[in-house]
């Protein structure tokens, strides 16, 4: 979608036109779902997060600054939604470590596929890595989405790559399958 097309679509959304939201879904639905899946690990929760993201977008689209980068705005909403869901999960499950899937996990516990290995990274490291390396946002955009500074993004991505390289190396030698 061209920038000007996107602006027109957003204007339609501001007017409450649901077909505008459909166009945004066609453009961003899969990246949002992928990111939510990586952040939450559970498919149903990922779909719920995307649904909630669109609802929050509907309610708050008048707050979106004209001329701003829409994808960053949308992923900010998704990230906040995922963080809220992880917090809720922590509250409901009562098991913080499991809830956040925090990687006290060593490379031996990173899972059988690359996806599982990524899912096993600590929450912030995972978010930085997924947005930067998978969804290909810039370091600055990733920092803006997550509300952290660029240095944190660089360090998190560096550490994530290091862990995943270790996991790949172990896999190539016959572990951790």
């Amino acid at each position: 979608m061209e920038q000007s097309d996107e602006e027109q679509t957003i204007e339609r959304c501001r007017g409450g036109d649901l077909s505008g939201y459909r166009q945004l879904y066609d453009r961003y639905g899969h990246p949002l779902l992928r990111t939510a899946q990586r952040m939450l690990g559970r498919r149903q929760e990922a779909e719920d997060a995307v649904q909630e993201t669109f609802l929050k977008l509907f309610r708050g689209i008048h707050g979106f600054r004209r001329g701003g980068r829409f994808s960053t705005y949308l992923f900010q909403i998704l990230n906040n939604t995922c963080v809220d869901m992880i917090r809720l999960r922590k509250h409901v499950d009562g098991d913080a470590a499991q809830a956040e899937m925090i990687g006290a996990a060593s490379h031996h516990e990173l899972g059988h596929s690359l996806a599982e290995a990524v899912d096993s990274l600590p929450v912030q490291m995972r978010a930085c890595f997924v947005l930067f390396a998978v969804e290909q946002f810039s370091q600055e955009e990733t920092a803006e989405i997550l509300g952290v500074n660029v240095g944190t993004v660089k360090a998190s991505v560096h550490r994530a790559r290091k862990r995943l390289r270790t996991w790949l190396a172990a896999g190539s030698k016959g572990g951790p399958a």
């Binding site: 409450g16 649901l18 939201y21 459909r22 879904y25 639905g29 899969h30 779902l33 992928r34 899946q37 990586r38 779909e47 995307v50 649904q51 669109f54 609802l55 509907f58 309610r59 690359l114 996806a115 990524v118 390396a133 998978v134 969804e135 660089k154 560096h158 790559r161 995943l164 390289r165 790949l168 190396a169």
Partner: protein, 234 residues
């Protein structure tokens, strides 16, 4: 394996050429670079679309409900806007008298309409309903013709008068809206039709007042037919 040059490339404090030169001589960095390339290649698979049949349908349903709720909230706000008339009047005694007169006129109009057909069976006949609908349409057309012009006249008024007219029109619009909602499920209800006609009449008179008396045709006289149903002379 303790070579730190790979991190220097990644940060990056070393140019790709410098690192390539180094990796030719350093097995550790060459192995890390190979793993890194493999990681990048495998990451491509994580960018595949995840099929999500039915997800948009769920989102659309949610947004549709939210839109309906937002419309209802908007209507409530407009209604509250009408009620804020009291607050405006409280601060402006001159307007209070005018506002009281307007409210009294509305109340009297409603009472007159209610008491003129005590024997009403409560449900309009098909013939009477058709006539009432024609009358409503005439009012709606007259209102539509006047509304734009009246809007610019109100804009040009002093703040207090403009506020008075806006509040009055908001109150009438809310009444019209409520009547139409009720009629959607019960179109033949005599009482609601009466309220709606009264509101439309009132709105037209208000708009005519804004634009200046005598510029628009007088509304038709209302009368009842012998069995108590609403009829209006054109």
């Amino acid at each position: 394996m303790t070579c730190g040059k790979f991190d220097a490339r990644e940060r990056p404090r070393m140019s790709p050429d410098e690192f390539a030169e180094h990796a030719r001589a350093c097995a550790e960095c060459a192995a890390k670079a190979a793993l890194d390339a493999r990681l990048d290649a495998e990451l491509v698979a994580l960018r595949d679309a995840i099929p999500a049949p039915g997800l948009w349908d769920k989102i659309e349903l949610t947004l549709g409900r939210e839109k309906a709720r937002a419309s209802a909230r908007d209507r409530d706000r407009r209604l509250r806007g009408g009620l804020s008339l009291a607050a405006v009047f409280g601060r402006r005694p001159l307007l209070a008298a005018a506002g009281a007169a307007v409210l009294l006129a509305i109340a009297l109009g409603a009472i007159v309409l209610l008491t003129r057909s005590p024997a009403s069976p409560g449900i309009l006949s098909r013939r009477a309903l058709a006539k009432v609908e024609i009358k409503e349409k005439e009012y709606a057309e007259a209102i539509a013709a006047m509304e734009n012009q009246a809007g610019s006249r109100i804009e040009a008024m002093d703040l207090q008068m403009a506020s008075l007219y806006r509040d009055k029109l908001a109150a009438i619009n809310a009444q019209i809206e409520r009547c139409r909602e009720a009629l959607a499920s019960n179109p033949g209800n005599t009482h609601i039709r009466r309220y709606l006609l009264a509101a439309l009449h009132d709105k037209r008179e208000t708009l005519a007042g804004v634009l200046g008396a005598g510029l628009w045709p007088e509304p038709a006289e209302r009368r009842e037919d012998p069995d108590g149903r609403i009829e209006e002379e054109t």
